[in-house]
């Protein structure tokens, strides 16, 4: 296969970068979730948006 080094670099960087980013998001979310009561860890509803947001 020609250009093998370029192929490994291109595909490798892409997969590693996406993986690292996904892991960091999950890690951050675990840390933040610890500060939110369990019953409020649902995903945002219109009602929540009203409470959180602007007057």
């Amino acid at each position: 296969m020609t250009h093998l080094v370029y192929l490994i670099a291109g595909w490798g960087i892409t997969f590693v970068a996406c993986g690292v980013y996904a892991m960091s998001v999950m890690r951050r979310s675990r840390r933040v979730a610890a500060r939110v009561p369990v019953d409020r860890r649902r995903w945002m509803t219109a009602k929540d948006a009203d409470q959180l947001g602007e007057s």
């Binding site: 020609t2 996406c18 998001v25 009561p37």
Partner: protein
């Protein structure tokens, strides 16, 4: 690994599908696709991209998602300014972060592809290259604005204006570099090229589907993280509010205990 608090049934299902899609994509890209080799009709030499063509299956989806993500950011910013929507503020921010990552990957994979094919890491004469680079730098600016001090409302308004300008800026930059760069090396012809085989075309299409799936999956998690952050802020505020009210009650109790006069001692 314990379950992420940003997971749900939908996101897990999508995640598994994207992971399987990625594996299938690797197999398709490295096995099903033939290297791009053509014979020059006049000289009889072998020309083409050879195996480097396989880089396009990460480069093209990354570029597609980058532009898709920033479009979402711009739309979200407009809705924030128009309807003061919190939901769209979170979406715009999440999308810009993923967009910046994909723009960076577009530039990196493009550069890696350009080295063997164009014989240069970077080409100043190319409009899409320059536009994407400036877009990447603009998105870093947008993300910096999102990290500025201030309340959630202040941040939402400020970043919405920058987010709205993001799209406008990209259009202006694209126009200007299009005039500026006298020639373009870019693969305008590649996709339309008749020599692209069925397999290559299918794999490219499949890569875009996997890419969009990955974008949606990442958006779900990133959105939920931002939402958790806001919830955490809010519950923090509730605690502070309770503490603040207790402070007022204490003060009232002391005041009534000393006979209705306020405690001057606390004033200074």
């Amino acid at each position: 690994m314990s379950e992420s608090p940003t997971s749900s049934k939908t996101s897990r299902l999508l995640g598994v599908a994207v992971a399987l899609g990625a594996i299938a994509l690797v197999l398709l890209a490295f096995i099903a696709v033939e290297p791009d080799v053509r014979i020059n009709a006049e000289t009889g030499q072998e020309i083409g991209q050879f195996d480097a063509v396989r880089l396009l299956f990460v480069h093209v989806p990354a570029a597609l998602i980058a532009y898709l993500a920033f479009t979402v950011t711009t739309v979200g910013s407009a809705v924030v300014l128009w309807k003061r929507s919190v939901w769209w503020d979170v979406v715009a921010g999440a999308s810009a972060e993923i967009g910046a990552l994909c723009a960076a990957l577009t530039l990196i994979t493009g550069s890696i592809w350009g080295r063997p094919i164009w014989n240069t890491w970077w080409e100043w004469g190319d409009v899409r290259l320059l536009t994407t680079l400036v877009l990447f730098m603009l998105s870093l600016g947008y993300l910096a604005v999102r990290r500025l001090e201030g309340t959630a409302t202040e941040r939402a308004r400020r970043s919405a204006i920058v987010g709205l300008l993001l799209f406008l800026n990209v259009v202006i930059v694209n126009r200007s570099v299009e005039w500026w760069a006298s020639q373009t090396l870019h693969q305008k012809s590649t996709i339309a090229d008749a020599t692209i085989e069925g397999n290559t075309l299918f794999t490219l299409f499949f890569a875009m589907v996997v890419g969009v799936g990955a974008y949606v999956w990442m958006m779900i998690h990133r959105f939920r993280l931002a939402w958790l952050e806001r919830m955490s802020d809010r519950f923090g505020t509730d605690d502070l509010l309770a503490a603040r009210r207790a402070e007022a009650d204490d003060h009232a109790r002391i005041a009534s205990a000393v006979g209705g006069t306020s405690p001057e001692g606390e004033s200074s």
